[in-house]
Amino acid sequence: MIGSPQDHVDSVMLDELKEVMEDDFGILIDTFLSDSEIRLVDVKTAYDELNSKKLRESAHSLKGSCSNVGAAKLADICKHVEELGRVNKAEDAGQLIKDILSEFEVVRVILKEQV
């Protein structure tokens, strides 16, 4: 279920970013998306390797940039993964990682529409 865009991305934040970034808003979104794809790979690899420390770090990093573009739900899932990494339970992150991947696709569509 995709639901309303507001469930996935904070539109107030996005509007503010648009105002501040002006012409660079498009570049910011592109940068965020390509950056995040790299970090998603990091998160998935860490899970595949059951490397809790790496999982924690990569999820933490992704969480930060997601929150900055208003992708609050995605940031929230990252936070759970980071927490599992912290308590050394990388093996329990399987479902959450699938959630991250699908949520990211939703966010990508919403952000692209904003440009």
Partner: protein, 577 residues
């Protein structure tokens, strides 16, 4: 001088974040506020850019590749040195340990993700204000350091000038013990001591109000007047009046000098004391271990002008071995750890418990040390002890006076006649000593000459002009009566004179000084050498034998003439050393 202005000029803001999109957002925020962003992708790059760009504020992501934010902060704080470079950590770390670590390494604040533009801009403004305040404080501190250095330098120069004027006099004499700070003059304390031409000793302890240069300034003329006048044989009353008038004239209202002057005659074993505003000074007698306070009866020097000032002194018997203690109020005001003052009673206890008068001076210092629990630095108080001793063997003034000039009057004569009104109020000795000291080489004999002249002058005035009998002086009751009569007589003088006739001829290595003192009195039976012999036999006569035996020991010849109305003495001297 820095102007305190919260951020009109654009600031350079270093942004170090490995996440491209996050960095772009921060960069946009900073630009929007009118500042200049500088971008770094990791800690290493941040340090390099910090060195080359010298930003005003640094935003550091905590977790970065190559060099993390913690390490970068440490290096940057080190490079910044004394300058205040605010570091704001960018972090989504939440745990207390991580946040504490940010501050430990030198961070000043945090900004958590998601970044909020309003908060970031408020922080930049706040830190910029702090940064400016810091540089203002720094600049003012540097200025204070500079001023302080200049002040210290000026004080050193002033100290040198002061030392040249206030040479030690005879403070080194074996009968004086004293404790003063080397920079005491800047605490307002001044301690002066001089031998009098007549053989006695003058000591002055002064305590000026205030500190630093203002307190020191009054010490210079005080010292100059003291030494100049003491050398010429002026009385302590005259010296006190002169110092008072000078200080009254030069010091602003509210600045004055509490002081105590003591004139000790070792020969007569009496001390004359004037205390204006210092705490009670003390006479400590060796025989009965009795301590007698010598309180202040006057206002400090420099307060009252002209005729309102009283130089009235108090006489104290002072046998050989007796000691006088003078102190500024510092010793009374020493405090223990509970800020209780040492005070007068504790001072008295030291005297009461003393077993050996020679140790009082040390015991006083020890008592203060025990009380305060710290070493007596002598920084805030001066204390001086003067002992009465036989006159022989006391050193003369340590010089400070220029050596005699080669040139000066060598062959001359003058007559100086004082009439009734002059005799009532004027002491001619300093004036004549002043002229005599111009004779090259004669200064070394000033003490003897002063003694001779003063004996002859007093004889002419008291016995000749006034006709007082010296017999009166043989008992101490008579002594007082004698001086009362002398005082009364002085006021009634009329149609009389005392005349000095001085004649100097140079010899190859010295000279011959002939002094005739003539008076308008009735004269006396002088032609009996036996009297002089009798005087020498009878001890009390040394007081009242017209001082002639003493004069005889100093002169080549003493001749009375004109029916006892004139006496002529010949003083032959040689250049010393």
């Amino acid at each position: 001088m820095l102007v305190f202005d919260a951020g009109q000029d654009p600031l350079k803001v270093l942004i170090a974040d490995d996440n491209d999109s996050d960095r772009m957002i921060l960069q946009a925020f900073v630009k929007k506020q009118g500042h200049i962003p500088i971008n770094a992708r990791d800690g290493q790059e941040a340090v390099e850019l910090f060195e080359s760009e010298r930003p005003d504020i640094v935003l550091l992501d905590a977790l970065m590749p190559v060099m993390d934010g913690f390490e970068a902060a440490r290096v940057i704080k080190g490079l910044a040195g004394e300058n205040m470079i605010p570091i704001i950590f960018l972090t989504s770390l939440q745990d207390a340990d991580s946040l504490a670590r940010c501050l430990d390494v030198g961070g000043d604040d945090f900004l958590s993700k998601p970044y909020n533009r309003v908060i970031l801009q408020a922080k930049i403004t706040a830190f910029n204000r702090m940064r400016l305040l810091h540089s203002t404080v720094q600049a003012q501190r540097d200025q204070i350091v500079l001023h302080n250095e200049q002040l210290m330098h000026e004080q050193e120069v002033a100290k040198k000038v002061f030392d040249n004027i206030a040479h030690p006099g005879c403070l080194q004499a074996s009968n004086i013990n004293y404790l003063v700070s080397p920079m005491a003059v800047f605490n307002g304390d001044v301690l002066l001591a001089a031998r009098k031409p007549s053989g006695g000793m003058l000591v002055f302890l002064g305590d000026f109000t205030g500190h630093g240069l203002p307190a020191a300034i009054g010490a210079m003329p005080t010292s100059e007047i003291f030494y100049g006048m003491a050398l010429k044989g002026f009385s302590m009353q005259d010296i006190l009046k002169e110092i008072n008038n000078k200080l009254k004239k030069i010091l602003p209202v509210g600045v004055f000098c509490c002081g105590c002057m003591v004139d000790i005659s070792f020969r007569k074993e009496i001390a004359e004391v004037w205390n204006g505003g210092l705490p009670d000074c003390f006479m400590y007698r060796a025989e009965d271990r009795d301590s007698e306070p010598m309180p202040s009866f006057h206002l400090p020097l420099g307060v009252l002008g002209g005729i309102s000032f009283s130089a009235e002194t108090h006489l104290y018997e002072m046998k050989h071995g007796d000691r006088i203690f003078l102190w500024s109020d510092g010793i009374h005001e020493e405090m223990d750890e509970n800020e209780v003052m040492f005070g007068n009673e504790r001072l008295m206890e030291v005297f009461e418990e003393n077993q050996d008068p020679a140790l009082v001076f040390d015991e006083l210092q020890q008592a203060v040390r025990d009380f305060t629990g710290s070493t007596l630095q002598g920084d805030d108080h001066s204390i001086v002890e003067i002992q009465s001793v036989p006159e022989d063997g006391l050193i003369e003034n340590v010089s400070g006076y220029a050596a005699d000039y080669k040139s000066g009057p060598k062959d001359w004569q003058f007559t100086f006649r004082l009439g009734a009104s002059s005799l009532k109020s004027f002491n001619p000795l300093p004036l004549m000593i002043h002229i005599l000291m111009e004779v090259p080489g004669l200064r070394a004999h000033s003490g003897k000459i002063y003694t001779i002249l003063s004996e002859l002058f007093n004889n002419a005035l008291e016995h000749g002009v006034m006709g007082l009998s010296s017999e009166l002086k043989s008992s101490s009751a008579g002594f007082a009566e004698y001086y009362q009569k002398r005082q009364d007589f002085l006021q009634t003088l009329d149609d009389c004179f005392v005349e000095f006739e001085l004649d100097h001829k140079p010899l190859e290595c010295g000279g011959i000084l002939k002094m005739v003192v003539r008076d308008s009195g009735k004269g006396f039976e002088y032609n009996n050498k036996t009297n002089v012999k009798k005087a020498a036999l009878n001890k009390s006569e040394t007081y009242c034998g017209r001082g002639i035996p003493l004069v005889k020991t100093l002169c080549r010849s003493v001749q009375h003439s004109e029916g006892g109305r004139a006496v002529e003495v010949v003083f032959e001297w040689r250049i010393e050393g």
